[in-house]
Symmetry: C2
Subunit: 107 residues, 2 copies
């Protein structure tokens, strides 16, 4: 994998393995990707908190990783996941972070 393009980070697209819905996009550094594969649960690098975080570590809404795909340039991954806990991935309580159209947030 090529972590050089975004200061050590790559985008990780989280896709529901059953429905193919895109649930969220996070960033991973090399350690986050390694931890994801070692534990089987999606782990990201938080840019705002400057630390690793396993998604759902407090809420219990972990993301069980069933498959990891890599793109042609080896600088992005897609994770096929099973939603655990209450199944709502977004911190707003929605199932997916992508619950709005762009046109809806504009005035």
């Amino acid at each position: 994998m090529d972590f050089s393009k975004l200061d050590g980070l790559i985008p990780a697209v989280i896709q529901d393995a059953d429905t193919s819905e895109v649930l969220m996009v996070g960033f991973m550094n090399e350690q986050a990707l390694a931890d994801t594969r070692r534990t089987g649960y999606a782990t990201f690098f938080s840019r705002s908190r400057n630390r690793l975080w396993m998604k759902g570590e407090t809420s219990g809404n972990r993301l069980q990783v069933l498959d990891v795909l890599v793109d042609c340039d080896e600088d992005t991954v897609v994770l096929k996941v099973k939603r655990l806990g209450d199944g709502n991935v977004c911190h707003t309580g929605e199932r997916s972070c992508f619950y709005r159209r762009l046109s809806e947030i504009e005035r």
Copy 2:
């Protein structure tokens, strides 16, 4: 939209509107997103070439945008697209850039 987190760029996940397959991930600056919406075809900002590029501008394999979703933090978009041209999105000739498992690229 918040373009401040990645030096003026946001990730744009390109998803096939029919199959829900993730086809590619690119980056957009504010102008690329505006051009995408104005033209109806996915337009990105190339970090390596330091310029805007409409996907398929040379190959003809443009991506017709049917819907644009935005995430909770307003720093990422998902574009639901129709594949035009020969329908192969990746420059390798594959339909999707995510045609390999991560385990396949490791020795």
